[in-house]
Amino acid sequence: MKKILLLILGMQALHLVAQERFFCRDAAIKFTSKTSFENIEAVNNQGLFVIDLKTGKVECSVLLKSFNFSNALMQEHFNENYVESAKYPRAYFKGDIQSIPTISLDKNADYTLAIKGIMQLHGQLKEITTTANLHIKDSKLTSDCVFDILLEEYAINVPKLVKDKIADRITISTKAIYQIQKTGL
């Protein structure tokens, strides 16, 4: 009897935990390089985000080949010369929300969260600290986040000839609309 009770309790716990987990398959990730010569922009609409409001774990994974540039040649150079997407197909971010507020899906609200984690790009790992905004509107969870990375920290070398056209500091902005993970686990 006790065992059954425990099992039910345990399952409920699992269920509750599962309810706190959200994911997004089509997060928009944009990066911008701004120089006095030109601004370069690329967008990827297939970012994978997983966020757990219980544990505060945040995970993102993105295919570098899916970044779209308006200039096809730039897109080729991005993949071939800079991020080497054949060798390192994905970029990752894995981190934690620093202090998790109590978030209820029933109440429309905006939260600003401090996030600290590790970004993995071009085979390099680097710590990132940033803030992200979480919004709840009509029981829908969305997020947006902006942070900068330095190309040299990820061993992405820009040749001298094009140094004026590619910024050292790249701004990355993300937007995601989440779904609740439905299955029990």
């Binding site: 345990g10 994911f23 967008v43 295919l63 080949k65 200039n71 096809a72 040649l73 730039m74 000839l161």
Partner: protein, 295 residues
């Protein structure tokens, strides 16, 4: 006591599953994601050196190409190893779609104008399709005045055509190889020569660094050329890519800069030391000014 253990067990079980599940969820999402499987960058440029490569211009890109072929290096210091003589082709290639390129150019040699349509039928994929298949058809017309006023040349006399299929594969990040069966048809020929010439092109690229590659471009003329006059064009060089520019520096026994010309009119021979320096300069401009709407 027993109760506590149960609690502890169930608690640890919950956290264990939980920690695992998140990792799994991301992995699961990753495995469900369709990736862009298309292989790109088999060659640095849309030409191996002389011949077309399996590479296409992206949609909305305009490639301004300046080609130079100098005199034989064997002419020595007096002619600065051939640099005193130059023939030149100016070319304009347009990427209509990612699989269709139109191009036009003019060569100083014979004042020849040439144009081509290049279409990619099959694109190599990382998993699945192992090769790329590209087709090219082109026309060339020389516009010089016939020095003999009694024999005016008709448009027909002046024109030549070529068509080729290019089968190629990027074998690794560094190495790519292509083979291109080619047919060249010329209306005006020397006595005893054949109007239709069959050739097989072989192009290979090996990357030395991310932006520099070693390239070889060879065309074996399979029939019809009077070999006392014609030889097979062989070009060896390096591609240097610097952002929007690609420099293709090479040595070749061919002077021609279009298919009719380099396949059927190469008279110099490497074995006699009659090779020349030449370069292709490609500058790519983006004509399409579309904004990324999706964000």
């Amino acid at each position: 006591m027993k109760m506590k253990i149960y609690y502890l067990l169930s608690f640890s079980l919950v956290t264990f599953f939980h920690a695992n599940a998140q990792d799994d969820l991301l992995k699961k999402l990753e495995s469900e994601q369709k990736s862009n499987d298309k292989v790109s960058g088999a060659f640095k440029s849309s030409r191996v050196i002389n011949g077309h490569s399996i590479e296409m211009l992206g949609a909305g890109l305009f490639d301004f190409r300046i080609l130079h072929r100098f005199g034989p290096v064997s002419q020595g210091i007096g002619d600065l190893f051939g640099l005193d003589q130059a023939s030149m082709r100016m070319g304009f290639d347009f990427g209509i779609t990612n699989n269709l390129t139109l191009g036009i150019g003019r060569t100083t040699y014979k004042k020849e104008i040439d144009a081509f349509i290049k279409y990619r039928f099959i694109r190599q994929e990382k998993t699945g399709m192992p090769i790329s298949l590209v087709g090219v058809i082109g026309v060339s017309v020389f516009t010089y005045k016939n020095p003999d006023p009694l024999k005016p040349l008709s448009f027909n006399d002046r024109s030549g055509y070529y068509t080729q299929l290019i089968v190629g594969r990027k074998f690794s990040e560094a190495f790519s190889l292509q083979v291109s069966p080619t047919l060249v048809y010329r209306n005006m020929i020397d006595v005893g020569d054949s109007k239709t010439i069959y050739a097989i092109g072989i192009g290979a690229r090996h990357k030395i660094s991310k932006r520099v590659a070693f390239v070889v471009d060879y065309h074996l003329v399979a029939n019809g050329l009077p070999m006392s006059v014609g030889t097979n064009p062989l070009s060896i060089g390096v591609d240097i890519e610097t952002g929007g520019h690609v420099f293709q520096l090479h040595f070749s026994n061919a002077t021609g800069m279009n298919e009719r010309s380099f396949i059927t009119e190469t008279t110099n021979s490497w074995t006699n030391g009659d090779f020349r320096f030449g370069f292709n300069l490609s500058r790519i401009f983006n004509l399409k000014k579309t904004k990324n709407k999706a964000y």
